[in-house]
């Protein structure tokens, strides 16, 4: 089954950092495929990233590549797994364009049957939070699946499954994804990027015969240095979505050295200034 992993730019950049760890820790099996259209994203150009002390192994397969852009595609032939790395956020108001004009055509072009969306959040709407978890602190991951093969008329089923709660200020949906027992949430809101993505993937007529499943993996994190959250998420990805290979030894790329600044966080407070 051809699978595509799509990390969303979200709280603490945990999906991006986890994808970095996945790609660079398993760089012998992942290979760069191509740059994707970055028109809808904040501009970004950087050098080829690599694990410190090693060459840029991810880009071995291309000879003339010298710079990375905001959106790139990698492939693991062993698992028939495509991975998108998105290095900057989608521009304000262009989220729908991005889903319809970049992701949907990519899914069609690669004949992807299963899309895994990796997201992170500081918390979920009160109405969506699961309250009966045995130990809420130990459940940091939500996994929801949307089985499109169950849909006969995808667009109609999508409409039927919306069941938006009109009493709430935020529109909530608890039927599109079926969340696992241990998930910390039981639905999504219509303001979330994943909702727009599902809408455009299910409404692209050309994908009806191809795409069969969308899996939504959400990680509970807090703002700040999220490198450890990313490491934990990367090591749990295989358990949450078996299509993703397991990573035994994590290697962070050189670009991480600039993520949180070059100085230690200030600890002293003197006359109103952190020093």
């Amino acid at each position: 089954m051809t699978t595509l992993l799509l990390p969303l730019v979200s709280t603490g950049n945990v999906p991006q950092l986890s994808t970095d760890l996945l790609l660079h820790s398993l760089s012998p099996r992942f290979k760069f495929v191509q740059e994707l259209t970055s028109l809808h994203l904040y501009p970004f150009v950087g050098p080829l990233d690599h694990v410190p002390g090693q060459k840029a192994a991810l880009y071995d397969s291309v000879t003339d590549k010298r710079y990375t852009t905001a959106l790139e595609l990698f492939y693991d032939q062993q698992r028939d797994l495509y991975v998108v790395q998105q290095r900057s956020p989608v521009l304000q108001h262009y989220e729908n364009n991005f889903c319809k004009e970049v992701v949907a055509p990519l899914v069609k072009q690669l004949r992807v049957q299963h899309v895994i969306v990796l997201d992170s959040t500081e918390g979920v709407e009160e109405a969506l939070a699961r309250r009966n978890l045995p130990d809420p602190t130990s459940y940091r991951y939500s996994v929801g699946t949307c089985d499109l093969s169950e849909f006969e008329n995808v667009a109609q089923e999508f409409q039927d499954r919306l069941h938006i709660d009109e009493k709430s200020n935020t529109s909530l949906n608890t039927t599109l994804f079926r969340f696992s027992e241990t998930s910390f949430q039981n639905g999504i809101t219509t303001e979330q990027f994943v909702f727009k993505l599902c809408y455009h993937l299910t409404h692209a007529a050309s994908l009806h015969a191809v795409l069969t499943k969308i899996t939504y993996v959400n990680v509970l994190v807090q703002e700040g240095d999220n490198s450890e959250d990313a490491a934990a998420a990367c090591q749990n990805l295989h358990r949450l979505a078996p299509e993703i290979p397991s990573v035994s030894e994590l290697h962070a790329p050189a670009s991480w050295s600039g993520v949180y600044g070059v100085r230690d966080a200030p600890t002293a407070f003197d006359e109103g200034l952190y020093i």
Binding site: S38, L39, P43, V45, D49, Y94, N96, G258
Partner: protein
């Protein structure tokens, strides 16, 4: 003595959304139209050898009193925004709250000028408060489409580097360092370079270290002196001393000299 606070609202450095567009429709499923880019008048790019794309911060490297620039065409970019009037003025004025939003059309004209024997120059005046990065992304796409037959040289700035970087295949100057992780480029420079990279259009670029928000950066004296050495051959002017003097003068007039105006950098 009463000191009046001149601006209560300070834009945080991590704030990405352009403050010009205040729509709150977070759950909208509508497709947004792209900005429209057109050439003001047709131009035969094959008459020229090189196109230099330069940001406002580095425009003093092509001083008008020495480099005779003549407008030959221009890019005209049009886009729409919706402004929520009650938020437009934020706390600067105690204006009346006006409900509803207002659709506004914006047009930006960027002249393409010729100079010297065979060169074109396109100067980009970036302003993150008024112009969304989508405009520069689309402009980059059009430049890659229209100008791929020219030698393209992009002169930009970045606050994430410490020294002048040379990019391209081959690099503009092999003696200068190139980007190494975790360095990266954003702003219009990255918009244009991204489209050139994605569409496999050959380019060269010089990126200078700067400080300040996009479009309002300031340059150090040492950086400016180094840029003058690098750009003198491009300017196609004769006397190097006159060129250096004119560059310094325009750099200060342009408001991009560090320490010249702010009072913070001395």
């Amino acid at each position: 003595m009463l000191f009046k606070q001149w601006n209560n609202f300070t834009e945080p450095r991590h704030h990405l959304d352009a403050p010009i567009d205040e729509r709150d429709e977070l759950d909208s499923l509508k497709i947004e139209p792209f900005p429209q880019v057109s050439l003001a008048k047709s131009i035969d790019f094959s008459d020229f050898k090189r196109l230099i794309i330069v940001g406002k911060t580095l425009e003093p490297l092509f001083p008008r009193n020495l480099v005779a620039r003549r407008e030959v065409s221009g890019f005209k970019i049009t886009w729409h925004t919706e402004i929520n009037e009650s938020q437009k003025f934020r706390e600067d004025f105690q204006s009346e709250e006006i409900a509803g939003s207002m659709r506004a059309e914006h047009t930006l004209e960027l002249p393409i000028e010729s100079f010297g024997q065979d060169s074109l120059i396109l100067c980009i005046h970036e302003n993150f408060l008024r112009v969304s990065p989508i405009v520069w992304n689309i402009l980059g796409f059009e430049i890659a489409k229209y100008c791929s037959g020219l030698e393209l040289l992009v002169l930009g700035t970045a606050d994430t580097i410490q020294e002048i970087k040379s990019l391209g295949l081959p690099a503009y100057d092999a003696n200068l360092p190139t980007l190494i992780p975790p360095e990266f480029i954003t702003s219009f420079t990255a918009s244009i370079l991204t489209q050139l990279i994605v569409l496999k259009v050959p380019f060269q670029a010089l990126i200078a270290p700067s400080e300040g928000p996009s479009g309002f950066e300031k340059l150090r004296l040492t950086t400016m002196d180094q840029l003058i050495d690098l750009c003198w051959p491009l300017s196609q002017t004769h006397a190097r001393d006159d060129y250096a003097k004119a560059c310094h003068r325009h750099w200060k007039l342009n408001g991009t000299a560090m320490g010249a105006q702010a009072g913070l950098y001395v």
